[in-house]
Symmetry: C2
Subunit: 335 residues, 2 copies
Amino acid sequence: MDDLLAQVRQGSRRAVARAITRVERSDSQARDVVTVLYPHTGRAHVIGITGPPGSGKSTLVNELAKALRRRECQVGIVAVDPSSPFSGGALLGDRVRMRDLSGDPGIFIRSMASRGSLGGLARATAAVVKVLDAAGFDVILVETVGAGQAEVDIANMAHTTLVIEAPGMGDDIQSIKAGILEIADVLIVNKADRPEAANTVKALRLMLHMGESTRVRHHGHLLESGGPGGKVSEEEEWEVRVYETVATTGKGVEEVVEAIVAHRDYLKESGEWMVREQDRSRQEIEQLLQARLLEQLRQEVPQAERDELIAAVAARETDPYTASRRLLAWIKLDE
Amino acid sequence: MDDLLAQVRQGSRRAVARAITRVERSDSQARDVVTVLYPHTGRAHVIGITGPPGSGKSTLVNELAKALRRRECQVGIVAVDPSSPFSGGALLGDRVRMRDLSGDPGIFIRSMASRGSLGGLARATAAVVKVLDAAGFDVILVETVGAGQAEVDIANMAHTTLVIEAPGMGDDIQSIKAGILEIADVLIVNKADRPEAANTVKALRLMLHMGESTRVRHHGHLLESGGPGGKVSEEEEWEVRVYETVATTGKGVEEVVEAIVAHRDYLKESGEWMVREQDRSRQEIEQLLQARLLEQLRQEVPQAERDELIAAVAARETDPYTASRRLLAWIKLDE
């Protein structure tokens, strides 16, 4: 094991693949891998990429990877698909990808499909990112399917978040979710050669503008309470911009890479990089705590007892609050 | 408080609104409300409705509500939007809705927007459904924005799950997420008057067919291990079908209501209703356990200690696994 992880640190692709397989196998193996590698992480620029199905996300991720390779970056791609392996969706996407990017030793691709809980997937994804980070990948692209809050949580592990939209929502401003705009560091309208693209770009810019005025108001409040000297300089703010790309032809991809590099510089110079590292750390610790609690309950409370409580709640004989208190009493966590 | 909850049980709309406000205010108020009302729940048919932005979900939910009203059902609508109140999205949707359905005392509408964590939103949504259930609503429509795993989790609280798709994905079968098909009891292609609708319907039916063959294989396996008498009758299986609607004109809505009623009958007769109640109970208990653990850590571990640990993890001085073990040691949950 130590030998394997030493090889990971030397950048061996085979060792990376094997370490990732261990990480995916169980939480305890993930723990063994991460505790050893963790001190050697923190160098990679982790980029989260999220957007609805059909936005051409995977194609764009491939193009970004190629553009980053031209800048001599080693690129890791983690494609997270919380949907089940029912249709083999992750595998299919993988194969398309492999054909496109294979043969370049500077790119490593891994698909992550849900095998159990979403929490398990998020933990495994975090561990895989660490393996790639320790192996010396400069940029790690974490692509998530969809734009639900869970995907947002996974994107939260990133230093930089790209949100991809497809054209055709210009007539329906409500379909652009505010939460998505809030997490975006870089906004991209892909398939920008479609006629509806201009409307979508306009709608997104309008939403950003609305957000901007909210932010200004918020600053005013900060200034009031902060008193003199508490002024937030305009230069310290990152300005979210809307980019247009056509991933199938590569159009606009170079501009997005420039934005990614600029965002990294901004994070480092403003101190925001460390703030995001702390947010990520807090989230990871919480996830591990919750997983550990459930594990402990599984070990200490007999299955029959757990099933009986669940049946009682389903039958309205007891309520879920009382049931959870009784479970906690079992492992002496109650008051 | 007891007075308020007695009024909820009598179906007072004002009491329901006030109880929901309490539920949203804090986890402890939700607990107080739910523990009292819980024995009086379990009667309502809870229907989860999920689908991507732009699929016309809200309009369809309104039409379903009206059709259910024509069948003398009391209808509760809970619109869950995990995006932040940043743009007032939930409020805007609400206003459109109110204009459309207001004046009918048989319909109660509530929007739920995220105020903190997604976990908090899922817990609050579960509690709101219980308030409406105890107040005597026959059908509760829980509408979630997007189709991420988190929305799937919320939909899991439902007895019946409707998945809505919009036309225009026929050329991109991968964009139909397998996970979404797996949770769907009823599939709907809305905006079916668009030319691309036929392709989408075809693609969905093809996916369903592929899923069907998987299921048959799975049954074969069950039969083998179950031996004689373990045969699963074909009639016991619910067949997921694809429906076409045009919510703006009401076309196809009546057929969807028929499917909803048929699914309820199927659940009751097959015993699946109770299975889903148990799944829901298990999930709720787990959510409450996790919330309680984090609450206990907040109370027992001094803020400075927590911040120090998080900073140490962010600085790579310790790893997240070690940090979480140290936190658990604080509340004596470690080994």
